[in-house]
Symmetry: C2
Subunit: 217 residues, 2 copies
DNA sequence: TGTACATCAGTGAACGCGCGTTCACTGATGTAC
DNA sequence: TGTACATCAGTGAACGCGCGTTCACTGATGTAC
């Protein structure tokens, strides 16, 4: 409804592309991906219904652009959380997991766009590259823990997958699933910590332990 | 396209309600929830476009009915997997987790319907009751392990949430997510085992261990 | 066993709207000389 | 610095389709007596 003006009022609208992305993100955050339509976006940006097509070839392209952006931001969030964490390998790993869940909860628009079912059909180079980078952070942190003897000596791939699954699952259950930001009295703020902390605690309950030597095969 | 006839050709169509549910499920399994539309369902059942409304008040109601059914089937699958498992608490817990993921992969139609975002808005008593029952199986199996000293001594709620998150996340990543039934050379058949097994192995790596006593708070 | 009546599961045509997308256009912006 | 021209981001009206939903109807099914 309100016409947005960015710094430079040049080029007619300022930065329509950015405005479309931003308002689109807000719509998805509030009502889900299926609620996003270009006409409404155009209207909210104070622009005619055809205008968005000068910036995105179609609706799908806008969704993909947002998904790419989301993966990049997730990676940034994870990287800086890790950098800010205590130097111990377990603390660093836990910080990554927490950042993942925190991102999903606070940026649920991006999260939905990044993992929506239809994305794969059009899975674009940019999306794949970004998501790979995010996942690689997790893998490296796990390898680091294993080298230090701070994680169970199972296949690293299995451990990486399990950790990713756990934080991803928590995010799904909270963002769109039956939990909706609530689970048995855990405070909203502590939610992102619960799952990663439980895992790292389970992996090395007391303190650094040697890699367990499996006795039977 | 093909007109279905059930045993009794009575009542015009036989059992249109059931046929609509079944073909709807197949559509969702193949192309996702958004691909399901009542006109196509009616056509596939060889019936006019208005016919479904004698069995479901609207599209939403059909989706909810399928979701309820899905939760009931998930619970059955989990219960019988647990019953068929070895008597050891850890084996029983692992069987539950495996059943959850197996269900998601083999019945991805139900899985999508059960956890789709829009379900919550209309979250019905039937759905809630069924999903609670399924989750309670998991909780009890965890409590059993903890009593036997076979799981870390963290809060049971945190452990339950983490396990649920892990199997749910694996399911999401495989069914609609970036993994799509593939992860680093794990065979498709072994996928449902990877995450639950990794967790139970991590929880009690060698054999039954006493509940760890946390030294620092 | 037959008849009358209520009920119920279908038909098929139509309504109507949301929304992606197109298109001929206009006026603003940048650039070459 | 001014002018001519290409380009580009908008307008706004319209197309068109998919699809949920409705409605007056018809014929089949079950039930009461």
């Amino acid at each position: 409804v309100v016409t947005r003006r960015k710094k430079k009022d040049s080029w007619h609208h300022g930065d329509l592309r950015r405005v479309l992305l931003d308002t689109g993100l807000r719509v998805v955050e509030k009502d889900g991906v299926s609620a996003l339509n270009l006409r409404e976006l155009a209207q909210k940006a104070g622009v005619s219904s055809g205008a968005p097509y000068h910036h995105f070839t179609n609706r799908q392209a806008l969704l993909v652009a947002l998904a790419e952006e989301g993966f990049a931001r997730l990676r940034d969030a994870m990287a800086s959380a890790q950098a800010a964490a205590a130097p111990a390998p377990v603390a660093r790993l836990e910080a990554l997991g927490r950042a993942y869940v925190e991102f999903a909860l606070s940026q649920s628009g991006y999260f939905r766009l990044m993992f929506r079912a239809d994305l794969d059909k059009t899975r674009h180079a940019g999306v794949n590259a970004e998501s790979d980078k995010a996942f690689r952070l997790l893998e490296e942190a796990i390898a680091e823990c294993q080298r230090a003897g701070l994680a169970p000596g199972v296949q690293p791939e299995a451990l990486a997958l399990t950790l990713w699954s756990a934080v991803h699952g928590a995010a799904c259950l909270w963002v769109d699933g039956p939990l909706r930001y609530e689970f048995r009295g855990f405070a909203r703020d502590s939610l992102p910590t619960v799952v990663p902390r439980t895992l790292t605690t389970a992996f090395s309950p007391d303190e650094p332990v040697a890699m367990p030597k499996r006795r039977r095969r």
